[in-house]
Amino acid sequence: MTMLSERQQLSYIAAQAADARLNVELETEGMTLNIGPQHPATHGTLRIIARLDGEQVVWAEPVAGYMHRGYEKLTEVRTYPQVTALINRIDWLGSFANEVPFILAAEQLMEVEAPPRAQHIRTILFELSRIANVSLFLGDLGVQMGAVTPVFMAFRDREYVLNLIEGATGGRFHPNFDRIGGLKDDLPKGWIDETRQVMKKLRNFCDEIEDLLFGNEIFQSRTRGIGVIPAEVAKEYGLSGANLRASGVDWDLRRDQKLPLAYDKVDFRVWTHPDGDSWARCWIRLQEVREATKIVDQLIETIPAGPVMAKVPRIIKVPEGEAWVSTENPLGEMGYYVVSKGDLGPFRVKIRSASFNNISITPWVLKGVYVPDIITILASLYFILGDIDR
């Protein structure tokens, strides 16, 4: 416990006290509150069973699976190019980012590498989908706490990013643009200029949100010191992405991993926060949007010339073998373990989605908090339901 701050210790003590209260003979009659599957705070159909003592949670457990769509099984009856259309829908807010690790895994098995231009554009689209995803989180944060205005700003500015994604790929939500060996198409004319302006708008949006929400005393008192996750616990529960970095672990797959993406060509900072509370998680994501806009800015200036598609056979047959590729997706580490038997489609795909692991910490972190804090903690952990249930 020596490493923990005072705040973390307090939350630990609160959790212990909540535990102890269950064992006390003279307890008041508790109430079991069933949050979800249909509840505005669950972004879909997550169900959380919370046992309450007054307004304090003594025990909570998430129940996932209400929206299970069997993607791992479905991939087995599809060819490789068809799979991307499917896995787009896992994390539906950052859909392009879902395609990338799968395509990279398939490329690894086929020993194909996308040409540098394609890698560049892939990275740009990857970061754009991160912006589209996380900027909505920033707006949604306010709604979870009753401030209804920021979410409309988020929708307003995310629209520009979605327009960009649509301009490049033809699809706003489900681009299905990534191909084994490169991309479907090159960028349209004028896209780069527009991107430059949009990135400026998004940085303004970040400033606006920081002023309106992060600077607000009530917001701070609702998030600071709430839902503290110490670094060791975060690692034990397999948290990833911003949730892990908010606990002070300097871990970012974009930087730490050598993949055929253009991250080694740009200069960006991986932010960490020592606190590990809801505030830290929100703040890290805010910084992440800012960094992403900077990454995009740097990348659009340095797109190399050349084709966007490597030489790939018309009918894709992936040679026998196994590959694991994971990337730093908007929600955290997302990976695909692809097993091929040399057929048109994968033999087995295991999808490691970030939200499933991120949400698994809820029984630990919700212990001892108040009912209103359930909402802020869930919001700050940031999950997309499709990413939990697949």
């Binding site: 109430m31 706490m145 009912v371």
Partner: protein, 350 residues
């Protein structure tokens, strides 16, 4: 002393009062909903708001009311049916009872209680009962939590509200709202009577505490823990639908208007213009046209105050229940007590 131009029989006066009361409750509610909820909120959120129903969407409210009236009146199976049906009416009736003491002009009042302030503050807390029974009788855990939160919150904020008003009462030397209005408009600041003497100048702290407490009484953000649509799914209103929800909705906004009326009476000079402008010395000399002008002045002041209430509502996130209680007991109540002490000392000294 009445000096109305024509003699009106008692039944006529009663009818006028009833119609006036309905207008005084529904007119503010309508304007608040349309101007602030639909339009101001939309512009703050970079959207246009209602556009289709009538010019600039001004008929939208009627469309909404029509929609609600058509909806099924759902009563949960385990609900305590009679109480469940009664609850929204208690809330709305408390609003009507509240508007009764508000003076709108020299003769444009419903009743002229000598303990008007006391009555208004007492009746203001009746709506708690409605909210509490709504939460209890819905047979829904979210509603129950919302109802209990509402009870705790409204009781906690009743106190600073009462204490904030005590400062005004001390200064005016009366609990009659009409007298408070007259005291403000006949007063003068160091002999200069250009704007009368609205109590907001000396009782600014009281005004601030009163407005914060009103915000909490109305369960508006940042004090909307009992409703909290993102966690309690509208709290005590969760199970209500159709016209019962509509009654809650009207009650919420009408109460905002009525509390703004009371705040403008207590702190902003109410219906009056500074009497020195027209050479009036007392209430008896006020011209008859103020019975028409007064309500309009009140409506303007109400709009400004509810504008502030709604502005805060749309830009702030909400407190947590314990933070909210702490704010009431540790900040607002000591401050308002200090305000009373200072006001009393100054009143005696001068």
């Amino acid at each position: 002393m009445l000096h109305v131009a024509v003699e009106i029989p008692y039944w006529g006066q009663s009818l006028l009062r009833v119609l006036g009361g309905i207008a005084a409750v529904l007119l503010p509610a309508g304007t608040i909903v349309y101007l602030f909820l639909f339009k101001m909120m939309s512009f703050m959120q970079s959207r246009l708001g209602p556009m289709e129903a009538g010019p600039f969407g001004s008929m939208q409210l009627f469309a909404e009311v029509g929609k609600w009236l058509q909806k099924e009146d759902i009563i949960p199976e385990n609900a305590d049916e009679r109480i469940y049906k009664m609850a929204p009416i208690i809330v709305l009736v408390s609003t009507f009872l509240l508007v009764v003491v508000v003076p709108f002009g020299p003769d444009a009042w419903f009743t002229n209680f000598s303990a008007g302030v006391f009555y208004a503050l007492a009746i203001g807390s009746v709506s708690v009962i409605g909210i509490l029974v709504a939460g209890w009788s819905s047979a829904n855990k979210y509603s129950l939590l919302g109802g209990l939160r509402a009870a705790g919150q409204l009781i906690a904020y009743e106190l600073p509200m009462v204490l904030a008003v005590v400062g005004v009462v001390i200064q005016a030397g009366s609990m009659n709202l009409q007298d408070i209005v007259v005291a403000q408009n006949t007063g003068s600041i160091f002999g200069w009577d250009g704007i009368g003497f609205p109590f907001v100048i000396t009782q600014f702290l009281g005004f601030l505490i009163f407005m914060i407490a009103v915000q909490a009484e109305l369960t508006q953000v940042p004090f909307d823990m009992p409703i909290a649509e993102s966690e309690l799914v509208s709290g005590y209103m969760t199970e209500y639908s159709g016209f019962r929800f509509l009654i809650f909705f009207i009650g919420e906004f009408a109460t905002a208007g009525v509390f703004a009326f009371i705040a403008s009476v207590l702190f902003l000079g109410g219906w009056g213009v500074p009497f020195a402008w027209f050479g009036w010395d007392s209430l008896d000399q006020v011209d008859n046209w103020m019975n028409i002008g007064g309500p309009l002045i009140m409506l303007t002041k109400m709009m400004v105050l509810t504008g502030i209430i709604m502005w805060v509502r749309f830009s702030y996130p909400r407190f947590r229940e314990d933070q909210l209680q702490r704010f009431a007991w540790k900040v607002l109540i000591p401050l308002s007590l200090a305000n009373i002490a200072v006001t009393a000392i100054v009143k005696v000294a001068i």
